[in-house]
Amino acid sequence: MQGSNSSAQTLVYSEDGKKSGSVGKAVPRIEDLKIIRGKGGYADDIEFADQHYAAFHFSPFAHAKIKNIDISKALELPGVIYVLTGEEVKKITNPMKSRAATKSPTSHYILAVDKVRYMGEPVVAVVAKTKYIAADAIDLIDVEYDPLPVVATIEDAMKKESELIYPEIGTNQLIEDHFKFGDTEKAFKEADKIVKDRIRIHRYASTPLETFVTSAFYDQTRDELLAYASDQQPGRTVGSIESTIKIPQSKIRLIVPQVGGGFGNKLAIWQYVALVSLLSKLTGKPVKWVQTRTESLYAFHRPRGFMDAEFALRKDGKILGARLTDWQADGNWPYVAALYSLIKFANMCGVYEIRNLDYSYHSVATNDPPIVQDRGVGKPFMSFALERMMDKSADALGIDRTIIREKNFVPAEKMPYTTFSGEVYESGNYPENFRRALNFSEYHEKLKLQEKLRKEGRYVGIGIACGIEPGTSNLGYYFLSKEGDPDYNGAGQMATVEMVADGTVKVNMNGPEIGTGHVTTIAQVVSDVFGLEPEDIIVDGWYDSVHGHLTYAGTYSNAFNDVYLGAVMKAATLLKEKILAIAASLKKENVEDLDIAEGHVFRKSDSEKLVGVKELAKISYGRLLSFPKDQDPGLKITASYVNKTAKPFHRDDFNVQLTHSNSTHICLVEVSPENWNVKILDYSIVHDAGKVINPGIVDGMAIGSTVSGIGGALYEEFLFDEQGNNLSLTFAEYMKPTAMESPEIKLDEMESPAPNTVFGTKAVGEGGAITSLGAIAGAVEDALKPFGVKISELPIKPEKLWEMVKDTDEYKKLTGGAN
């Protein structure tokens, strides 16, 4: 056998024959090299030849009948080629189906038919030659509405005489259910103290800086759709295009280029991908839609709602049992109703051991706009409610807020720990994480500082929150609310690793890259398999449905560190085995004696290079006569990987998510007695996300997610008037934290590896958004202790604080009686 590398070179390796590898190192991100040059290639950067543009008329009413639509003036405008209304949509498409509601609505189409259910619902679509003409055409469309009574709140929706959002269902309560675990009744009977509160959550959202963008071209010569979209769950979008506009999956190619931020928000884009695809099919033109910021603020938020929580407590602080009743105003996009309630099972008892728990939930349709799975979904609210209850319980019992937490942590020796409902906390050490956080944040020094500052008349408080950060959704929890086997369940991913004919290793993870460093992380783990450097590996950051995918393929639910890496590693390992087997056969060696590094297959015993991988690739693709008879040509492996700890669903034993990171947040805040603004003086986190592959990337997400939570805790809220009008339609009213409001965050990482993932990695992207709410609320409440302020809702805006303090004695003391 010929070989160009027959002159043996000796390489230096560690004892196990491997190079030291890049896993665990802060390798600079490969994807940055394009982005920082202005060549990121986002969805709006891609243009078809003869590109046309779509624009929509969005409903100005939260609830109204559509009496008449006059499109004649718009059609007369030069440059306008098509106008679509609900009348046509009803004829040629299917309505959107519910995933969870026992009875699915049958009247909600991708474009409003007969009535509108929220301000911002798309009612008329226009296709024009430029985006400016498309916008002009929208101004020429005359829609006559007949307003209906608005169902603004959960209380409104539940009234007997309430207007129905979906008359065909017969109630506004889309889903309700009740679960009982352990013996809660006994726990409450035996309790020394019972603490109750109604805790509220508001509407807010992560607002990725890139809005929804989608373009589509329906090729009438091949009856095939090619669509681009800033989409987080393209696998499901492909299915939803088929089910709504009736293009078969086999005729759909969907591509997701670099996404400008996801946070779950872009799980909702599919309705618009279907609409724009339909517009292209109807016109034969390539059509693009770029959502404006105002349009993006209309809908797809976290739902507002409340939880009635009750803790049964022993006097030493031990929680004997809990009763939780959850009410969520799930808007009116039936697709995701109840999701925020059900996903709470992933962290319903948080880091604490609670065995007796009753849980009821109600998913209610209102004229609030649709919701979407925003960063952490229902888990931030669950964690907020739990941590508020921990603080309130400590106060009611007269014990320290640290003691009550220590009293209730799941003990380290019980790991892996199965919660009351069957969620398996596969790893973690909560007491240790907490101890480290107390040290790391210099908690006891902070107490002294607080005392000193209080004496100086300053309102300074300390907040503590301990939170679980679940990752990898097992999906089918809709099974809990609906009969039958849900379309999406389990947790898996498909990936392709290949060595092309020139010897280069290429990886396709086939999920969207939304800013979470997937390209670099995959390059790190795959380069270690092949003994290469990360920059030698070409990782395709684009999702493309032609590569094949599982039905629910997408980047969400912190699944990357589990099933994405699992699928990539499975494919890479199989490919490596194949390459070694080919080399062994060609060189008449034993395969187990061989390994691969720096572009060569070498013999482990003496590090002698036997054959170059370029040579092997050339043979594997082209020189088939010299190719071993016991192997198939080509070096491309597509592998599917499943996390096998996902349980089938039973009402008394189920796991919603499969990995569980955790963290402790401790912060120090000051409230100004002049303007009641909250300033964060210090913020410390000890985070445990298991094994970390790239600390630069993981630290960034831990910090970034925390600031996103701080935004929700202090500033961000979608406000609605009593007619259901969204009053927060620009960044002037919807206030995001800027660099000025964001604190310097001190971050420490500890590593409790997950036993059920390939590298021991766990969830990373959502922890701060989950845990920060409770820390901030606790700190503000502590700061305003002299006023007796109790915080049970967010965001903690200055005007709300002033309302709470203005009639107190402390305030009168402070102001000499004047308001």
């Binding site: 982005i35 040059r37 400016y132 800086l209």
Partner: protein
Amino acid sequence: MVTVNLTINGKEYSGETEPRMLLVHFIRDVLKLKGTHIGCDTGHCGACTIQWDGKPVKSCQILAVQAQGANLKTVEGLEGPNGELSIEQESFREKFALQCGYCTSGFLMMTNYLIRNNEEMTREEIREKLHGNYCMCTGYQQIVDAVQDAQRKYFAQKK
């Protein structure tokens, strides 16, 4: 339609536009320079930040026709003639100052200006000067790290 002639990154461009077209749309859709992004339409987020005669401006708040004869710089103009990264590009990468990267062009154009037109900035000063640029991913900390790092590099280079 109006013909707008201007200079971007030292190169002369000419394009036809309606008088009402925004400069950012002109740069992206007519001249096909896609590195400048749109994040909010209202001048809050700074994703569209470019430089006009060396000063940062938000290109979504300017009409293309106002930029007749202007001398502009966009993110595509930061790298050197042979593709060498500029110091702010280097610092943003080394400090993990971007995640989704959609805001990055605007931050880079702002940073390029700030580090050259200020004495050594404290972290608090950097935060204050960056308040017109939004980032939804990073929480700003690593961006502040990168700006500090870039300014250090700039001063070291000047010596």
